[in-house]
Symmetry: C3
């Protein structure tokens, strides 16, 4: 489509018209990253890191931040542009004009095995070799890709997507507009064993797992159910691939857990928490609202709201950065310390000598002429 049409479409989502230069009005055929963009594509620039890219990009159109210098350069290079305070957000809307993710057509594949007691909403799409067991309820527009196994008594809200070969365990409740990616396992037995003289004894996991609306769970991620009570993931929270959420965890709304994060049993988070890749959250830890943790951090205890944490055990990031910068100088510090110890010992001896010498001089002085 023409760039001017594209802008019209994007402006329809906005409260007011956008700053723009549509003079060149190129035909836009797709979207691309700024460094790889070819003629005929729309790209975007966000942050100072990519600012220089405007001078060499081959994109025909770009979404810019509100930066007059970038706008001028783009116009000068005859690149069409729109300018907003959050270019990546507008780009996300633009991508949808060119790309729709693959989805199954509504309908039930003849090989899908659906227990007679299952309630299905309208326009569901159920793929090949799907198994849906007794008592499950699926809302309108739910899409279940091939090979998914749904255990009994599961509830799935409208428009939720289950990708291939994922497994939803008994009594799990999944909200509306969720996405469960391929191979993820939701509502499986929590890791509950009690030590006894005869070895570990299994604590049956009678609780449930609840995913609120708009939750995403990444490929091969696992969310366990608890012995009693529930495991809950809040509205619009997003879990990346291979994340583990233990029994009884409660994740608040709008949280983001990057790949391979692990939360042990009973951990909780507030809202808008961001955990970097491979972060670990200890048993029963309480993570406050808007906490951010750098990759590989180990969080335990109570983390105050708005903290930015790093390291294991985690510290506030300023402390961590200072300490880790000095970490590599430990050998040098150790050596300096040794040297100081020797120097101080030498000084102590010298001072003692000086003192005793002084004393003897003092005595001499007091009676300097004695024979």
């Amino acid at each position: 489509m023409k760039f001017s049409q594209l802008v019209q479409r994007l402006e329809s989502y906005q409260p007011q018209p956008l700053q723009k230069d549509t003079a060149a009005d190129p035909e836009i055929q797709g979207v691309a990253a700024i460094e790889e963009a070819a003629a005929g594509t729309l790209s975007y620039i966000e942050g100072s890191r990519f600012a220089r890219s405007i001078q060499r990009t081959q994109a025909s159109a770009v979404i810019l931040p509100l930066d007059p210098a970038l706008q001028a350069t783009a116009s000068q290079r005859q690149i069409a542009w729109i300018s907003v305070s959050e270019p990546k957000l507008l780009f996300a809307q633009a991508v949808r004009l060119f790309y729709q993710p693959f989805s199954l057509e509504p309908g039930i594949h003849p090989t899908a095995l659906i227990h007679p007691s299952v309630e299905l909403g309208e326009s569901v799409a159920i793929g090949a070799y799907v198994v849906i067991q007794a008592g499950a309820k699926l809302g309108n527009g739910v899409c279940v890709h091939p090979g998914v196994v749904i255990y009994p008594e599961v509830q799935i809200g409208d428009r939720t997507i289950l990708h291939a070969n994922c497994v939803i365990h008994e009594r799990t409740q999944i909200g509306r507009n969720c996405v469960i990616h391929s191979g993820a396992v939701i509502g499986s037995e929590g890791f509950g064993f009690v030590p006894s003289a005869q070895g570990w004894v299994k604590l049956e996991q009678s609780g449930i797992t609840v995913l609120e609306d708009h939750v995403e769970v990444g490929c091969n991620a696992t969310v366990d159910r608890p012995a009693v009570g529930e495991t809950r993931i809040g509205y619009n929270s997003k879990l990346d691939n291979l994340v583990h959420v233990g029994h009884n965890c409660r994740i608040g709304p709008n949280c983001v857990l990057a790949a391979q994060v692990g939360m042990a049993g009973g951990g909780t988070t507030g809202t808008w928490v961001i955990l970097g890749g491979q972060v670990g959250v200890a048993n029963q830890a309480n993570i406050g609202d808007r906490v951010q943790a750098g990759a590989k951090a180990g969080l335990h205890g109570t983390i105050a709201p708005d903290s930015i944490m790093m390291g294991n055990p985690a510290s506030p990031y300023k402390t961590f950065l200072k300490s880790s910068a000095i970490y590599n100088r430990l050998p040098e510090m150790h050596q300096s310390l040794r040297q100081l110890q020797r120097q101080v010992a030498a000084l102590q001896q010298q001072v003692q000598q000086v003192q005793s010498q002084q004393e003897s001089q003092h005595r001499t002085q007091e009676s300097p002429m004695q024979p």
Copy 2:
């Protein structure tokens, strides 16, 4: 059931009658965590952390430790109670009176594809779209949930449960009463590549994986087979979700590996080893009996029995806790060191001056009246 009946059932597992107060004898309909318990539920209290909960819980009955103060408070609040040295262990037995995990009915689903050479025990339950390949042997009461794929020549002992979509590779031997959770992969090819001038050359993995009786393997966990010999997981050991066990590892009996633990090739553990979440065990490391490792620890070499380890590379936990407490003071220490260096340099100069002054005084003194 009435609390008094429940107590009777639980006492039937015990060597002798339990301390109790059944006066209120409430009707018990289920089990719950102490903080979330509603009227009509049984809960338990373990450790000092939850002791105060007895004053506000809504539970109608509780399992208490052998603590007269807690017993008195419970009786006073008309909460029925039983009291034992290990409340959580008794609670695990109580849960089973109210909750039985979902299991398939014995029988073979018509869509299950079972090679004619497969030997099946009595009362097996084989779910939909299961594939069992040539030469496999399944014991009595084995339960295979939908979507499981069993490669050739696998052996599975009595009453073992395979959850949905897990994969058991060729020649794997799984004992009795094991549980393989959804999506786990057992007996897959170990990561064996040999460097050559032309690149990495594959070392075929001709060995096998053996799981002894009562082993559990968590969702999406992976246990590899080796090039030669075997990978073995000992009796009653429990692996949580997303754990990786490399080729040729030998895990002893009654070990617990929390979520996302990784063991590189050839690592071994003794008995009753406990590894926290995201722990890594290096190539060929030997972990002694009863070793415990805190979350994220990195273990290598030989770890003596009964060690409690933390950090990466791991140290005994007391050392680690002391060092990590001081870690955040590194910048301050570095500054102190600098200051000391300046102070010592100044002192050295001063002492030198004092000494030379003293020497000249001494000379003066020796001939004080010289003209």
Copy 3:
């Protein structure tokens, strides 16, 4: 087969005849690790660690390094041997003479669901309950194990093997002679969400994932596709189980990523990079050719070629080893520092006293006889 025949077979892969002692010429029935080898097996010795094993192994034949002492001991113990500079590489060839991994017979299982638009090469093997969706192309000799789901428009090169229950997402391109292990997910949606006042907004992932020839991806590993552009894994690179590769990563040829490695979005590696277990690579990090990172290292920014890195944040391994050795002496260092501060303070006082004393002596001396 006779050892002499075995040697003949192995020599046929070599540029020239091998050093050997075939005098005993035992019958070889299989391969084994040196410590576990029984009579009738072939084993190998590599590195000094296993050198002493030659004195007690029960193997009937061994592959040795070019070490006359080992050769002499083997001959003396009547163990047949061959000797090469890289014994493990030759052993890898020997294993293949005794063991062929299980593979499906060519043919299409009647339960495999293959969209009419799919193009299949010759001699493909498609297992039970496989689903191959519209527009996919599979090369000659491709082997797809049971339960695999292939989304639309996927391309798979000749002789590539897809193990059970793995999932290949839309438009993924997989080269020739690749192996995708059980449960792995390739080409799934990258983790792309943009913050807005209303919460996280999904950035659709319109890009693709490309695996070049001879790539292996481990069990339950995940390789995401990007919003725009591609995620690429280079020729002959090997990913172990539970590895995560984020959107837009570019891994060079002949790299090895051990189990549970995680690469965040946009990371790149050169050639022959080796990442140990649980290593994390940050967003946009650039890892140079032949970089090696120890288990659990956290890499970010640009890592120069040939670096060997450890720790988090990672440092050159020599620095890390020195610093981590001193880490456990931090409490002692802290105490020493305190003691030094006290000693220096005491010295400062003493020196001041000495100085003032000296001054007064000096004054006295200057007029020693004053009344």
